[in-house]
Amino acid sequence: MLTDLTIAQAAEGLRKKEFSAVELTTAHTDAVEALNGRVNAYITVTSDKALEAAKNADITLAAGEAPTLTGIPLGIKDLFCTNGVRTTAASKIIGNFVPPYESTVTAKLLENGAIFLGKTNLDEFAMGSGNLTSAFGSVENPWHRKDDASVLVPGGSSGGSAAAVAARMAMGATGTDTGGSIRQPAAYCGIVGLKPTYGRCSRWGTIAFASSLDQAGPMTRSVEDAAIMLSAMAGADPKDSTCATVAVPDYRAACGRSLKGLRVGIPAEYRAPGMSEEILAVWQKGIDMLREAGCEIVDVSLPHTKYGLATYYIIAPAECSSNLARYDGVRFGERAEGATSLDDLYEKTRHNGFGEEVRRRILMGTYVLSAGYYDAYYLKAQKVRTLIQRDFTQAFEKVDVLLTPTAPTAAFARDEKPEDPVQMYLNDIFTVPASMAGQPAMSVPVALDDKGLPLGLQLIGKHFDEETIIAVGSALEKAAGFTARPDLRAGVSA
């Protein structure tokens, strides 16, 4: 089936004329049509545009010299502004916004020949760990527990992208990761999710959540595909001052690289109390596989890990409270009726336009930045962030890469959603520290738990050393031989 191919396989098939880009795209638009009513992975479907682009891709392919992603159908997280295509951030407040510009990352993908199937669902403004906060409804995880029909969450915030890739409704997708929003849903949906080094991909044209943390990355079904996509997405951008001006390597070449003599760090602090035996077992399995592949396993310590989550939930809301101030009803979105003053207009518009979780984080952020609390919260959090960064710097003096679990549990069911938001935030406990330090990190699916749900392991690398995590990830992937597919997917009736 065309929808089961990886990007690498499809790119080869297109060049060998085994099938056309139109056929490949049609297989995917059909899958989207068949499944999206249930999975809800896409907020906006652009099948007509995709088929039009596929025709052009076939012309380019026929002429030869086509860029790598020519004719490859992808899903685009609805946080990336796409020229002429509605971009919502899964929020009511800009639910009808059609940008007159293309984000740098998506522009690079288009230049590389990619075809966009539509805009994928997410937690509102990327705030959430279960894709339960979208104004356009929740996403259903294509995986289900054995003998249990409960609808599971795909993870968040890039849950739409993860579900689309897992359910074969896209060959790959873009995600954004602020505290784990690529890696955690990748783990929940049994796919590969790569968060590059902060500054590796331009943030220009991506709707901001927390500017000092947000980073775009690929979500795919293989490590090689992630490498292919990242090569297309990364690179310097004069329009983003925080985007690094370092050369982009050919990441694909790092796949299959020998791991002989590589030092893999196992951080003691990631052995969190109350962690499930299954997660611990998978972690051990990963350690064994890497030792087998020639790696040296080294115990390391990241002593400030335990403060990661608390610090994150000060800094990210602080930045979001400021970044989201522009949605005030003056220029975008639905303006509340019947306002009696300018302040009233802001209050009503923002109350009606933002969902509960976004409002909660804006309030938290406003609080921690306010004059009387700035030093106690924000400033302190910045100091702790520096310590967390130093932990990583020191660890990477001893090792080349770190191996940890991606998430403390497998995907949970919608109705098991914790009532306490703080409980919900614990989903990000393993992903947040790398985000705080700007390290590149990747989740690779390695096993199924006893209920048949995928579990992922996380690799954390040195700054701008995505190559090493790709090399290790691809070895892990090979050793794990993870071939399981979700029950809900293209070609299987929904």
Partner: protein, 485 residues
């Protein structure tokens, strides 16, 4: 010169600090490529960044940074090689992103000093606390529609330099002199046009009063957005009087932001400390710290023009003119340049007298700026040469200058066209003198009888007879000889 106010309970001193917002002269805005042209159609110079569109990011404009450094050097201030941009968060309809990007904690320019001159000829140093870069906001228009307000974002994102003074100012006159001097320096540097009418320079005035110079500062009020030097001076006077009245009646001045209403001659409360904004400053995560090289600062230093203070001293030395004339001539760089062209290689005092006298008067009368002057510096200089070499005398020169203003012609052309060359032929002058003496026998007798003042009468008659063209020195000489001899 001390300025004090007599209250019912004694003498009060005023304490003033100024925050001047100066719009940076640059082609594009502080963080976007949009044009900074003044007076375009509303919202015609707005980029997606200025309008705060989703996903847009600021990128610092190096030209604006260079202007700030230039200004810092001009204010003899410390240049901070590392500075930072913070976000100042508040909601207002003319602020598209909901925050202003400004340098709150780490400004690009640190302490400096401005020397002001007062009307009694004394000078004083006013300390500069800091200069920082920030974005301007847009403009709300409330008079276009009965029910709605409109937003014009043309100015949104334009670079401003906020120049903060120490509370060193002690009188309205000093405040006026300070703003004038600051404007002069900025114009010399070419970093701000100082045009207060167009809003490219405006001031927030902090005023407090105290009983004596040894008393600590009392509560201050800030008067926002005052847009002329005259209003700055008026606002200080009125606000100081208001505060003194409160203190003297046993009240307490509240720290608050006020507005100056020049029509009613009063300041009014805008917002009090209680409902003051909590701006929630924090480092802008979209921008890296601004790091500049000392070598670049040194390069900029090389391109600084001679500033008014140095120029004034040099003019006094090089051209032997008075401090007052030098001050007038350096007020504007174009005037100083004009004067120097006229004075170079000539008598500096005479050049200063002609430029500040008849030449300025003619400009004033015709409503022209020095750039539009029909009389070039070269032609004015040529006219001085004609006086010096005796071709014309000073009186004729005034007539020639008027003609030059009308025709723009060279002075010699006019002199020849009108036949204004000075008569130096002693024979002709002697004949005229003989004629006048013989016709005015009575006056000659009076003169010889001791009425010396009548000498002027004879000179006048001589000038009349020669159409003003006679060389005055020769006239004097011959008349004396004939009358006294």
């Amino acid at each position: 010169m001390s300025y004090t106010i007599e209250g019912n309970t004694g003498t009060w001193e005023i304490v003033v600090g100024l925050e001047v917002h100066a719009q940076v002269i640059s082609k594009s805005k502080l963080f976007s490529g949009a044009s900074t042209l003044f007076g375009g159609e509303p919202n015609s110079h707005v980029s997606l960044i200025d309008a705060g569109f989703p996903g847009m990011l600021p990128v610092i404009n190096q030209a604006c940074v260079e202007q700030a450094v230039r200004t810092g050097l001009g204010l003899k201030a410390r240049i901070n090689l590392e500075s930072r941009f913070d976000r100042k968060n508040y909601f207002y309809a003319d602020l598209p992103t909901g925050y202003q990007i400004s340098q709150f904690e780490h400004p690009i320019i640190g302490t400096g000093v401005v020397q002001i001159e007062l009307s009694d000829g004394s000078t004083r140093d006013i300390g500069i606390t800091r200069l920082h870069l920030e974005q301007d906001a847009g403009k709300l228009m409330h008079d276009q529609d009965p029910k709605r307000s409109f937003v014009d974002l043309n100015r949104a994102g334009v670079a401003l330099m906020e120049i903060v003074s120490e509370p060193d100012i002690r009188s309205p006159e000093e405040a006026g002199a300070y703003v004038r001097k600051l404007r002069q320096i900025l114009r010399y540097l070419g970093t701000c046009d100082g045009n207060m009418e167009e809003g490219s320079m405006r001031a927030d005035v902090n005023v407090s009063v105290r009983k004596s110079a040894s008393e600590p500062f009392r509560t201050r009020c800030e008067i926002k957005n005052v847009n002329s030097i005259r209003f700055v001076m008026q606002a200080i006077e009125i606000e100081a009087a208001r505060q003194i009245e409160i203190w003297e009646s046993g009240g307490e001045v509240d720290q608050e932001t006020r507005l100056f209403d020049p029509h009613k001659g009063e300041t009014r409360s805008l917002r009090s400390k209680e409902d003051a904004h909590d701006y929630r400053y924090f480092p802008d995560p979209d921008l890296l710290p601004l790091v500049i090289e000392q070598s670049w600062v040194d390069q900029i230093k090389q391109t600084l023009p001679e500033l008014p203070d140095e120029k004034r001293v040099r003019f006094q030395q090089d051209y032997g003119i008075t401090a007052y004339d030098a001050g007038v001539l350096v007020a504007e760089q174009t005037t100083a340049d004009f004067y120097e062209k006229v004075a170079k290689g000539r008598d500096g005092k005479s050049a200063a007298a002609w430029v500040t006298g008849d030449f300025f008067a003619a400009l004033n009368r015709t409503g022209k700026s020095i750039e539009e002057s029909p009389v070039s510096a070269d032609n004015l200089g040529a006219m001085l040469d004609l006086i010096a070499d005796g071709t014309i005398n000073g009186k004729i020169a005034k007539e020639v200058l008027e003609d030059m203003f009308e025709t723009g012609e060279a002075p010699l052309t006019i002199v020849d066209r009108k036949g204004l060359r000075q008569v130096t032929d002693t024979g002709a002058i002697e004949a005229a003198a003989d004629d006048i003496i013989s016709k005015n026998g009575d006056k000659v007798a009076e003169y010889k009888g001791g009425k010396d003042k009548l000498f002027g009468f004879f000179v006048g008659q001589m000038m009349k007879a020669t159409g003003g063209k006679a060389n005055p020195a020769i006239v004097n000489d011959i008349l004396r000889k004939k009358l006294d001899g």
